[in-house]
């Protein structure tokens, strides 16, 4: 048995264009002063499909990184250099947060000082036992 599927007009909030403009201005500030901007996509009312539309417009770039820390996180540089899409998941791969970061590299990708210190402790133990 088949059921006819009607494609209805999509609901929209009108927030896609203004958001893209915000990204553009943030990119300008990044270049001029190094200022980093993070936009929390959860804080904006977006109709079903609008988030995907934003992703589609920004496109995919050259960098795709994955972090495994308290569940996976996906960091993708979009087709616009300096505009990154960061998605945090929990251990059950449910989305915790989605952000557009306008920066040279998202802070979560950098190795943290505290972790480097722990790493040095591990190295010392490693070298002593070799």
């Amino acid at each position: 048995m088949t059921f006819p599927v009607e494609v209805m007009a999509e609901p929209w909030t009108g927030n896609v264009q203004p958001l893209l403009h915000e990204v553009y201005h943030a990119l300008k500030r990044l270049l001029e002063s190094g200022e980093v901007t993070v936009i929390d996509l959860r804080a904006l009312p977006l109709a079903p499909g609008e988030e995907a539309k934003i992703e589609e417009k920004l496109g995919k770039g050259e960098v795709h990184a994955r972090i495994d820390a308290l569940g996976p996180s996906e960091i993708v540089e979009t087709g616009i250099a300096g505009v990154w899409l960061v998605t945090h998941y929990n251990a059950e791969e449910e989305i915790l947060g989605r952000y557009i970061e306008i920066c040279r590299i998202p802070a979560i990708l950098e190795s943290q000082d505290q972790d480097i210190e722990y790493g040095m402790d591990d190295m010392e133990a490693l070298l002593e036992t070799r």
């Binding site: 009607e6 209805m8 007009a9 999509e10 609901p11 929209w12 909030t13 009108g14 993070v38 936009i39 929390d40 959860r42 804080a43 904006l44 009312p45 977006l46 109709a47 079903p48 609008e50 972090i67 820390a69 308290l70 569940g71 996180s73 945090h88 929990n90 251990a91 059950e92 449910e94 989305i95 915790l96 947060g97 952000y99 802070a107 979560i108 190795s111 943290q112 000082d113 505290q114 972790d115 722990y118």
Partner: protein
């Protein structure tokens, strides 16, 4: 019991890296509806945070709020939170029961007097205390006794915050909210039927990270989550502005996702985070799923005239039903219910479609 270790030490001992901690702080900021720029401040506060003791009391409730919290879509984070907050008593969740559980509560209260967080779900019956007791102690007595040493009280769910369903007309148990009874402690109301899971968690996190009560509105609700109304954040608002309304749940307007105002949506008078934070791991919320907002985070939402009656409609049917009820000596609700049941039975036998308008005409 409350732990002297800071959260950062607890995390380190569990092998959680600084990077993972930053991820936790980032998603915490999002959960608390704070801007990403606050992440460093949250990280700094959490690093130094000590674990507060929490006592959770459940009164006249359906357990939906506890269910909502334990279904929080961040189980790893929630595990950390519960590790971080030291839940000393929750008579629904804890393994111990009877005397052992009550001793646990009393010990926690004594050891952390003046510093524990008291969480309450469910309303408190003021008529016959027998309506709801725990270990033979009435809800009213247990609340008063436990509130004495609390630093602050969180009323989780509309029942604890405003009286909720038990409080609905005619309020047979004399249900009251926590703030009706306790007037000398800071109270944070986290209403909703149930509240969104991450809203509950977000309030705990705020207390944990900043050690303070979040900024509250005139109904004692955290402004971070209840500061904007559903209507203002609803993605269907453009349809409202253009006068495009769904008239029934299955007409072309409904299928096109038009505004649900005429189908009883209480979005314009409801303050909550549903339209942005959403439900079920951010999947959707009632309006997005095609059903109007019930207004469940507002006081007396059960008595707001009906879930399927538009806000602009006067509540005539209830008065007419009350007139019928007076004539036949039955309760007003019973009269409307009987009429609707008759209509439904007739429709079922004839396989007719029954709409909301049919019920309105009948009444």
């Amino acid at each position: 019991m409350a732990n002297d270790k800071s959260l950062i030490e607890i995390l380190k001992n569990r092998g959680v890296s600084r990077r993972a901690f930053l991820k936790f702080c980032t998603t915490t900021a999002s959960m608390m509806a704070l801007p990403p720029s606050m992440v460093p401040a949250i990280a700094s506060a959490l690093e130094k945070a000590r674990r507060p003791s929490v006592i959770w009391l459940s009164f006249q409730e359906c357990t939906g709020c506890t269910e909502s919290l334990t279904r929080s879509h961040t189980p790893t984070i929630e595990g950390l939170i519960f590790d971080a907050i030291s839940l000393d008593y929750h008579h629904t969740l804890q393994a111990a029961s009877g005397d052992a559980a009550e001793h646990a509560r009393e010990e926690a209260m004594k050891e952390n007097y003046g510093n524990y967080l008291l969480v309450v779900d469910g309303s408190i019956p003021l008529d016959n205390p027998g309506y709801s007791t725990i270990a033979g102690i009435s809800n009213l007595d247990m609340l008063k006794e436990t509130a004495k040493g609390a630093a602050a009280i969180v009323s989780v769910g509309s029942c604890a915050a405003f009286g909720g369903l038990p409080h609905a007309n005619p309020n047979p148990t004399g249900a009251a909210s926590v703030s009706d009874i306790i007037t000398d402690k800071p109270i944070i109301n986290v209403p909703g039927c149930p509240p969104i899971p991450v809203v509950i968690t977000g309030v705990f996190l705020h207390y944990l990270t900043l050690g303070t009560i979040p900024e509250l509105d005139e109904l004692g609700r955290p402004k971070a989550f209840f500061g904007q109304n559903i209507h203002d954040r609803c993605y269907r608002r453009p349809f409202y502005e253009r006068g495009q309304f769904a008239e029934t749940f299955d007409d072309e307007g409904a299928k096109a996702g038009w505004c649900l105002y005429k189908l009883g949506c209480k979005g314009p008078v409801t303050y909550n985070a549903c339209a942005t934070v959403k439900w079920n791991q951010g999947t959707s919320f009632p309006i997005e799923s095609g059903h109007g907002c019930l207004g469940c985070s507002e006081p007396n939402f059960w008595d707001m005239g009906g879930f399927y009656r538009a806000l602009s409609e006067p509540i005539l049917d209830v008065h007419r039903a009350a007139g019928i009820a007076a004539a036949v000596g039955a309760g007003a609700g019973l009269a409307v219910g009987v009429v609707n049941q008759m209509k439904k039975k007739r429709a079922q036998s004839k396989h007719e479609t029954v709409t909301v308008d049919d019920f309105k005409e009948e009444a």
